[in-house]
């Protein structure tokens, strides 16, 4: 009996690992290439040389289109997303993590496809898949920071958008402190505040996709409620969900990956300070 229990104890985690390893790098089960704090420091270094972008919207009505989990590889849906966003004159697009599978060639391909800034502003955030196979180095060299802010100024007000790197399943202590500081010092200066990050906040269904630990979520929730963050928009779980706590709406988007029936993206509209949204199918 004891021997059987030993075997089960060893085999069960191994089985769990194998069940969920179809697109993974096994090294990740033990350690990341870079810690969340190391990536944050590099992002801040990049930010110090590249000031945050300020988008000017001609009227108090604009939209931002957001996608996550294209896992390129295939880029058919991603290209459609770019085309639609440009055609519908979105002010910006946000690529909310898991843009690639972590291979250098994926980053090259996405960079080639990414619309020029004259056509549309694009903002990219790393997801867990982007870190595989040493992918952070490629992400950083192709797209730069994964933790930053941008603003959209209309004739009436300015809205704040915060992009966070949760690709390791945690913001890390330094990025959390940075987020606290931004919200404490700057939130009051902006009309709306919207956060983009890859990892979905709540665990609302049973999947192998991992959330930030509960102790970190407690910090998140307090900040979101206390500083009246309007939206937290995430991907990672591949299936859409919307929950609200206080005045904060937590969105999980469908994935955009080619070949999935539910493939889609997210449209965020701001008109006269009011926010509305739509899950769009590709």
């Amino acid at each position: 009996m004891e021997n059987r229990l030993i075997k089960i104890t060893i085999l069960l985690p191994a089985l769990l690992a194998c069940v969920s390893c179809d697109m993974f790098e096994m090294r990740g089960f033990v350690a990341s290439y870079e810690s969340a704090d190391e990536r944050f420091r590099q992002s801040m270094q990049w930010n110090s040389m590249n000031p945050s972008r300020e988008i000017m919207a001609p009227t108090d009505e604009y939209s931002i289109f957001v996608m996550g989990d294209s896992h390129s590889g295939g880029t058919e849906n991603l290209e459609q997303f770019f085309d639609i966003a440009i055609r519908e004159k979105a002010q910006a697009i946000v690529l909310d993590g898991d843009i690639t599978m972590g291979y250098e060639s994926d980053f090259d391909h996405v960079e080639q496809l990414l619309p020029a800034q004259e056509a549309i502003n694009s903002f990219l955030i790393a997801g867990n898949h982007d870190l595989y196979f040493g992918g952070w180095k490629s992400f950083y060299s192709h797209f730069g920071s994964s933790t930053y802010i941008f603003t959209v100024a209309t004739p009436l007000a300015t809205d704040l958008f915060i992009c966070l790197d949760s690709a390791s399943g945690t913001l890390g202590s330094e990025q959390t402190a940075w987020l606290k500081d931004i919200l404490q010092t700057s939130r009051k200066n902006y009309r709306r505040c919207i956060i983009f990050t890859h990892n979905n906040v709540f665990r609302l269904r049973h999947t192998t996709s991992t959330n930030p630990p509960v102790e970190e979520l407690r910090v998140w929730m307090e900040l979101m409620v206390k500083f009246n963050v309007d939206f937290v928009i995430a991907g990672h779980d591949h299936v859409r969900n919307e929950e609200a706590l206080g005045n904060t709406v937590f969105i999980t988007m469908d994935l955009l990956q080619d070949g999935f029936d539910n493939a889609g993206y997210f449209k965020l509209f701001i008109k006269n300070g009011q926010i509305s949204y739509e899950f769009a199918k590709i």
Binding site: P13, T210, N211, P213, G246
Partner: protein
């Protein structure tokens, strides 16, 4: 923390108070576990109901309840169960945000688990072991966020023991590359009265 036993029933209670922490509150955890021992053939099973309240903030708080089945062998301990978590706004948060309709979020049917291996049988006057779990006294993590600990115990006599645990908490598991999240050491004494 206090653990009361009579016959097949046991009741465990505890409170957690943070002297130095990022939390706004002094009291950050309160728990109660009610267990019922019953043997099935040679297996000493225990069913345990768990209630855990975490008032970690003036704005948002957390309540968990769940049911665990436990089985203990000479060298092994296993626990498996399911829990229900609710994050809810405090009255202060409802008042200040004016949000009456979105005051809570539920995470239902969270898997709770523990697997522990000990070097010595439970009755030995010292022991050391390793544990893989997503639950602690004042924390129930999501099923996809396991924690690990190395633990040791020494009994001075039948009533008095000293114990120590070193915990490692990673963030990221399965589809997320593992990132260090936290490490802590817990030590204390247990004193059996009566």
């Amino acid at each position: 923390m206090a653990d009361f036993r009579t016959g097949n029933l046991s009741v465990f209670t505890g409170v957690q108070q943070d002297i130095f922490s990022p939390s706004e509150n002094f009291l950050t955890g309160a728990t109660m576990k009610i267990g019922w021992d019953f043997p099935v053939e040679k297996f000493p099973f225990q069913l345990e109901s768990v209630f855990l309240y975490n008032p970690f903030s003036h704005w948002v708080q957390e309540f968990n309840w769940g049911l665990m089945a436990k089985v203990k062998r000479e060298h092994f301990k296993f626990q498996l169960g399911s829990g229900f978590r609710t994050y809810f706004l405090t009255q202060k948060a409802v008042r200040e945000t004016g949000s009456h309709s979105n005051s809570r979020i539920n995470e239902n049917w969270n898997l709770m688990y523990l697997a522990q291996y000990n070097l010595k049988p439970d009755k030995n006057n010292w022991n050391a072991g390793i544990t893989f779990t997503n639950t602690d006294i004042f924390l129930i993590n999501q099923e996809s966020n396991p924690m690990f600990n190395l633990n040791g115990r020494f009994d001075f006599n039948n009533a008095l023991s000293i114990f120590t645990e070193t915990w490692y908490k990673p963030a990221g598991m399965l589809n997320i590359s593992v990132n260090y999240f936290g490490f802590f050491v817990r030590t204390g004494i247990t004193w059996k009265i009566g």
